[in-house]
Amino acid sequence: MSSDTLRLVHLYPEQLGVSGDRGNVTALVERARRAGIESEVLEYRVGDAVPTVADVVLVGHGPLSGVRAVSEDAQRLRDALEGFAASGVPVVGVGGGMELLSHGVQTTEGETVVGIGFLPGTVRRGAPRRTNYFQVTTEHLGDPLTLFGFEDHAAHVELDADAEAFATVVHGGGNGDGRSEGIRRGASFGTQLKGPLLPLNPALSDRLLRAALTRRSISYHPSAAHAKLDEYAAASQRVIRDNLERSFKAM
């Protein structure tokens, strides 16, 4: 591993990786690569040695059974994630990944699936199911930025007192208060934005890469090599924008 390698940690790729979440890893690796920066991806699984170095930590979406299956093991990661956060490493959780990073999930049966308690919020399952295109704006790591994706969950997120949301809902459900979406903590956040989030929203990927690499004094500059990725992402966003009002049937 050379000193200027981007080090990604992908948590629980099987249990929390059912909605293309590897795409978030792929997006960061590919954008870094096109800027001349090589990456190393560590996939962390139940029982593995707790990672000690990371520039970005990603955890994807999975069904409740997936969150439950890793809940106990994930408690071992708490100190490592706190350490990463203290040094400005972005930790990103999507869907079930956000649930795992939160205090935990209250199920409709009254059970609590314990989370890591890294993100300051609690998830309550049993909200009306949402399946729709999703548009939010976020000021995460910069100026207001519009993000597009897909929302598919049946949960409300209750933020801790004085905790911050990741974004503001423009179109979609989000946390269930009609306004906020996801949970934010420093450079880290959790969200329900799928699609996956990072390939579809290259500007957010670039912010994460800069936050991750600046700590290491590595400069990151998107270039002409990124043009096709950006063009296709912009066209994908346009189609989503045109279809925001479309309703999808969930059984």
Binding site: Q15, T26, R68, F150, P196, M251
Partner: protein, 419 residues
């Protein structure tokens, strides 16, 4: 005489629906409204009982394979048309076959059933045998939880009156144990056959279970080459030509043959099986071929990640000409980032509203895309204009909605739900 009026009313509704140019569930709904016990009345007449075919993927193909195998062994089989797997659809299908007094002459009913309605349907159809194919991540969108889908299937299996046939290689379904009065047998694919498939079987993980390789299969795919498979069943070995290429079709065949031998109560006749498979046409949109100028278009429809992966893996390596098409009929396609597209060295045309999302995905893998054209009719024109490939086959890999549009454009406007 109780069923005369409901049957005639249902047929009238069907005739009216046909005039308007579409099959539908209305005839079935009409007959069920007038005679709520219509399904049980018909189902109870099958002397050899009713077989349910359940699964995330492969229900239609397996239902066809089982039906044709049983017919090749001399049985008269009732079956529902592909995709007509909800109660009204099944009632519509019955309606077509019964006499005005509600009689059927078939020996057995082989019925594909939607998981969500399967338990409910056991109450009217009383299946003697339940075949469970697989739990794959598909209904995640519909049901949120693969666990829940698995439970829907095993709860249905528990109500089979005599036999359950299940998938040895599926973590959710393999552990199923016989309820009193039931026999349980299993089908599967030999480990080396699965290993030879670039992305395996695509069955969903069951995170509450440890892998258990200890069970044996009563019917097993022993080898697979293109559309030819060798399957062991009940101590004999059967060679079959699959209706389309792919490991999933071979596993479906093993499932169908195991179920056939359970239903027949004796080993299947290899010659009869080979004949039945030889004459089988691909199920609707599953490897179907249509003429396209001097060449042929081969249609592969996918419903979800598992079926797309298995279908891509079954394409010829470095396939010469291929179009991929997805539109808003498949709402969330996040999962395309979990698909291994490395089998393709390029894509000629991407179509449908989600073409850009596909292009973005392929660009991340450095797979060149020649043309992006959201409009399927223009996209097909582009495919038509490409020079004739050496295998004279232009491959179309599409979701259901894009396939429907493409069929109409190519002069095959028939619907899947013909009940």
């Amino acid at each position: 005489m109780k069923y005369v009026i409901p049957v005639l009313a249902g047929r009238l509704v069907r005739a009216a629906a046909r005039l308007r140019g579409g099959g539908s569930a209305y005839p079935g709904r009409t007959v069920l409204t007038l005679a709520p016990d219509f399904l049980s009345h018909v189902a109870s007449q099958f002397e050899q009982g009713v077989v349910f075919v359940l699964g995330s993927n492969g229900k239609s193909t397996t239902t066809m394979m089982l039906t044709e195998t049983l017919r090749a062994h001399g049985l008269s089989v009732f079956t529902n048309p592909t995709g007509a797997n909800l109660p009204q659809g099944i009632a519509s299908a019955f309606l077509r076959e019964v006499t005005v007094t509600g009689r059927v002459k078939h020996d057995i009913g082989v019925i594909e059933v939607d998981e969500a309605f399967a338990v409910e349907l056991t109450r009217s159809l009383h299946p003697s045998t339940v075949l469970m194919l697989n739990v794959q991540v598909d209904q995640l969108y519909r049901f949120f939880e693969t666990e829940r889908v698995g439970t829907m299937m095993t709860d249905t299996a528990a109500l089979a009156t005599t036999a359950v046939v299940t998938n040895r290689d599926d973590q959710h379904l393999a552990p199923y144990e016989a309820r009193p009065g039931q026999t349980v047998t299993r089908f599967g694919a030999a480990p080396d056959v699965v290993e030879a498939s670039p992305n395996g079987l695509q069955n969903a993980h069951d995170f509450s279970r440890e892998a258990d390789g200890g069970r044996s299969a009563d019917s097993e795919v022993l080898s697979l080459s293109g559309d030819r498979a060798t399957i062991s069943v009940g101590g004999t070995t059967v060679e079959v030509r699959l209706p389309a290429r792919g490991l999933h079709y071979a596993v479906d065949a093993a499932a169908a043959l195991q179920t056939a031998s359970v239903v027949l109560g004796r080993p299947v006749d290899p010659a009869a099986v080979s004949r039945a498979f030889e004459s089988m046409k691909p199920a609707y949109g599953r490897g179907e071929r249509m003429s396209l100028g001097a060449d042929e278009a081969e249609f592969i429809m996918f419903k979800n990640a598992a079926s797309l992966q298995l279908n891509l893996d079954a394409l010829p390596q470095d396939v010469e000409q291929v179009m991929l098409a997805i539109d808003e009929g498949t709402p969330d396609i996040s999962w395309i980032y979990d698909i291994d597209f490395s089998h393709l060295d390029h894509v000629d045309v991407l179509a449908g509203a989600k073409a850009w999302q596909l292009a973005l995905r392929l660009e991340h893998d450095g797979i060149p895309v020649h043309v992006i054209e959201e409009d399927i009719s223009k996209a097909i024109r582009l495919m038509r204009r490409l020079p004739s490939p050496s295998d004279h086959t232009k491959h179309f890999v599409t979701n259901y909605e894009q396939m429907m549009l493409a069929r109409r454009i190519l002069g095959h406007p028939d619907l899947e739900k013909t009940a």
